[in-house]
């Protein structure tokens, strides 16, 4: 009786762990593993219809406009753009020229109504003085008015 119990426990334990692991794998695979699609993919009609999805890209310079409680901005991957409207609290790192991932649905007029806005930052860590130096060097090298941090 006891060895059989042990074997049963073994099988149940292994099955549970495999199931839990598989569940998470499937959850991740559910949206093709990618967390978001790009504005170019949206323009190509790859966005799901009548279903919430995420778009990732850069917040276009000078596009952020606040109308009462709603924030309007444009998310871009430098090739295509998607206008976004969002009502709610923005994360600390949300800024023009920085990466963002927005979740929501496309309305009939092509405006993306976001229910959640996440900020995406890059892997660079440096003191502010170093960043100023880089900005200065870049604007001196390529002329004023160039977009910095074009990579979302």
């Amino acid at each position: 009786m006891k060895p059989r119990h042990k074997r049963a426990a073994l099988i149940v334990g292994a099955l549970i762990s495999i199931c839990v692991a598989a569940m998470f794998v499937l959850r991740a695979l559910d949206s093709n593993i990618a967390l978001y699609i790009t504005p170019t993919e949206v323009a190509a009609g790859k966005a799901p219809v009548d279903k919430a999805f995420r778009i990732g890209g850069m917040v276009k310079m000078g596009s952020v406009e606040r109308k009462e409680l709603t924030v309007h901005f444009i998310i871009t991957d430098t090739a295509k753009e998607v206008p976004v409207a969002y009502t709610g609290i923005l994360p600390d790192l949300f800024n023009e020229g920085k990466g963002a991932v927005v979740q929501g649905k496309m309305d009939a007029k092509g405006l993306f109504v976001a229910s959640e806005v996440l900020a995406k930052h890059d892997e660079n860590y440096m003191p502010p003085e170093a960043q100023h130096a880089i900005d200065k060097a870049q604007s001196a090298g390529t002329g004023a008015g160039t977009e910095t941090g074009a990579k979302p």
Binding site: L10, A34, T38, P91, Y125, P128
Partner: protein, 256 residues
């Protein structure tokens, strides 16, 4: 031929629990001291010397515990699978005990990676959690550790438990490159690697030093705890052998 014989002789000598038990006892204080020294130096640099970050302000300092725990969670898994694999193929008892001793420490590191990651994600990204490829694969790593521990605990016969655990550990190794490359293979909210072997680190010098020292601290800590645990496992498993009885008699004499 003779050198390989000599090497395998040395291997089997130290792979014997009777030899390793006292050796591990001597090694533990060394790694505890190293962990403390690296920890003090790392915390000093991380909290007092490293400058503010240009975009995350002081919030980036979570990196000094987040990256070391994440690295260790992946590294310990590889070492654990290696020991389990050696135990499976060469039938050395000590290797399997090492794998068993490493699993809880690996699970702890994976848990710390997820906890500190959530505490970092909330203020910076705006969310505690997303089903992003990097975060999800790290969560799977945590469940692999838990699965390994649970599987071994569910089998009474230690040799069979070792075999079953080894197979699970080896299959799970597939997850390690998935975690590591997730940020380049898929669109993720998690940023890419700041430090890698293929490019110059994307961090200021002092920040990098703080992080590396903390990583060394976590590494030494993991070795120390795994050694403490492997000694307990040796005693549990070898209690009916002659050398354990002698060891106990010796300790009694020393104590009296």
């Amino acid at each position: 031929m003779t050198t390989t014989n000599r090497l395998s002789q040395i291997f089997y000598h130290y792979a014997s629990p009777a030899t390793f038990y006292p050796l591990a006892g001597k090694m533990i204080p060394v790694f505890v001291v190293l962990a403390a020294l690296f920890g003090i130096a790392g915390l000093w640099i991380g909290l007092f010397v490293a400058p503010t970050d240009f975009q995350q302000g002081e919030g980036y300092r979570i990196i000094f515990v987040h990256v070391p725990s994440s690295w260790m969670s992946m590294f310990i898994y590889c070492v654990m699978a290696l020991w389990a694999g050696i135990g499976l193929t060469m039938n050395t008892r000590l290797s399997s005990m090492m794998a068993q001793a490493l699993a809880p420490t690996g699970a702890l590191m994976a848990a710390l990676s997820l906890i500190t990651g959530a505490l970092w994600g909330k203020p910076m990204w705006g969310t505690w959690w997303v089903w992003d490829a990097r975060l999800t694969s790290e969560l799977i790593l945590f469940f692999l550790y838990i699965g390994f521990i649970a599987l071994q605990a569910s089998i009474d016969d230690p040799r069979r438990a070792d075999k079953a655990g080894a197979i699970l550990a080896l299959v799970g190794v597939v997850n390690i490159p998935i975690i590591y490359f997730s940020v380049t293979w898929w669109n993720t909210l998690h940023q890419g690697a700041s430090v890698s072997l293929t490019k110059a680190p994307a961090m200021a010098q002092t920040m990098l030093w703080g992080m590396l020292l903390m990583a060394l601290c976590f590494w030494m800590y993991s070795i120390a705890v795994a050694l403490i645990r492997v000694r307990a496992i040796i005693l549990e498993r070898e209690r009916h052998t002659e050398w354990v009885k002698q060891l106990l008699a010796g300790e009694k004499h020393a104590g009296a």
